[in-house]
Symmetry: C4
Amino acid sequence: MKKNRVEAFSDGVIAIIITIMVLELKVPHGNQLHDLKSLLPIALSYVLSFVNVGLYWNNHHHLFQAVEKINGKVLWANTHLLFWLSLMPFSTAWMGENDFTKWPVILYGFILMMSGIAYFILVRTLLPIHQKDTALAKAIGNDFKGKFSVIVYSVAVIIGYWSVTIALILYVVVAATWLIPDKRIEEVI
Amino acid sequence: MKKNRVEAFSDGVIAIIITIMVLELKVPHGNQLHDLKSLLPIALSYVLSFVNVGLYWNNHHHLFQAVEKINGKVLWANTHLLFWLSLMPFSTAWMGENDFTKWPVILYGFILMMSGIAYFILVRTLLPIHQKDTALAKAIGNDFKGKFSVIVYSVAVIIGYWSVTIALILYVVVAATWLIPDKRIEEVI
Amino acid sequence: MKKNRVEAFSDGVIAIIITIMVLELKVPHGNQLHDLKSLLPIALSYVLSFVNVGLYWNNHHHLFQAVEKINGKVLWANTHLLFWLSLMPFSTAWMGENDFTKWPVILYGFILMMSGIAYFILVRTLLPIHQKDTALAKAIGNDFKGKFSVIVYSVAVIIGYWSVTIALILYVVVAATWLIPDKRIEEVI
Amino acid sequence: MKKNRVEAFSDGVIAIIITIMVLELKVPHGNQLHDLKSLLPIALSYVLSFVNVGLYWNNHHHLFQAVEKINGKVLWANTHLLFWLSLMPFSTAWMGENDFTKWPVILYGFILMMSGIAYFILVRTLLPIHQKDTALAKAIGNDFKGKFSVIVYSVAVIIGYWSVTIALILYVVVAATWLIPDKRIEEVI
């Protein structure tokens, strides 16, 4: 089975997710500069999510560059990833509209954690159908970053119950570690 | 006529349908965990529809892998399928917001049934323009699953008048039979 | 310049237009069958627009099958067409929510007429960069249908001032003449 | 790394941005011609933004025609551009709903300026990975238009504090200079 339509469908869904999040930035009633102030937490929440969804697209792009073939299981592992990402606009809006309070911040981290797990499953579904000497197998290696992200997110979700600030810092830390493009795949390809 | 733009357009429309459904998950006013509770039926309704629309994309993908050529009739059979799928966000929201009560559940099944019929028509429009020994003809066979789904949906829609629970179980049963990827096409290709 | 990205961008925009129209079908408050009744004019308006936008995608698809090259002018003629099509969700909603009363019906026809003119301009921009013996030139011929549509829409918009019914019938008539796929291009290619 | 998925993702995001802006054209309550009057500033704001986003797609299209390869940095420079463009629906709506008053007009120009800077950065990220004799390097030249746009937008944003009219005229002037397709790239390719 060819990979091009999976890429196209994922591009479509991720493009929509990243763009409809901005619809939560509701136009303020006033026309003064300070009317934008109340939007600040929502805007910050949006920037964080834009970077995170952008990261997933980037990693998906890098990953599928190395993919040689897919099967029915891969289609579902991919749809499963898109499901969790599709909940990002909701958790982004809830967190932004509630000024980064406890439960919205925890839910936000939970969605990120589930997305991380779904990405991990996608990678694990792709590996068995690729030989050990393929670009994909070499590029993924032991997938340290993937495991690291899921673990940090789990920790952040628990810590969030006591400290929202630490949870948010951990979300930013994981995003930062991914902003460095995946050298492994780029080198191999 | 080439099939690539029909695939691209269908990918686009289905990607949008599957993603805008989540807009119905309106952000709750409170910021506590129990504020999410009232969203539970809408979230469940969303999960069911995400799986169903995901299934249609999956099957569409499998089907068009085997397609060798199309014509004007196929374009319209495909647009007809997209029409019924485009009503999914509406029926999903109505069912979720009304806690799975009678008429919304019946309408939901009706839209699924019409989508099933539209998919069936699409397949029947593709068959005459493909030889009997092509991958498509071999892969489709007697299309047991397609006929089965439409019949179960029709039954569910009628039963829904007396028992919402049985109707919902039937919707889940059909989805479950499709979650197993279409071995027929995968084997032939 | 290659045509594939113009196709992809147009597919994207048209897919979004055809899908967001359904967002106007607002979920009714009640959960009874008769609660759907008040949605009937909006639903009818949606069906008419779904067919019309579907037609434009279909014709665009047929047209670009025959296109061999494009230039900067074609890009803008195409964007101009997408502009008028992008107003379809607005005119569809205004017409549906006002039960097909005079001015909304006239505006609806005006947007259709402008889309028709924009399509006509797009065709005229493509012709000079294609030789007389190319598939495109042969396929377009004297473009009777294109001219016919624009004229009927203009007439319908004027008549709409006195009779909404006749205007609506004319909209349906034009759509019906296009539902027959463009044999000219299909035969040549 | 191949460029086709960056094109596809950008096409998707830009297609959504250009189309969801129209959702701000809220259907008026009345059904008379004069009920449309109050929508006039929003409609004008929409037209200006449609042209501007259309321009970015056009330029992106021209630019990537000449691109031969990309890397991780290009992916992020491109995502950065999409971020600023994604704020266009917000600034368009704020400006339209407030009848082109001071702060909304200034914000609108600010988003345009940041988009211009992001486009400039994208071009600068592409140049080092292309040889001096490639189509891209020849086509870009000293990129007069790009620098000119950013400078005029900065001036317009400052002037906007005293004169909204001059700021708006400058926005239109920049758009007009871009409406002429980029001859440089078209000639080289």
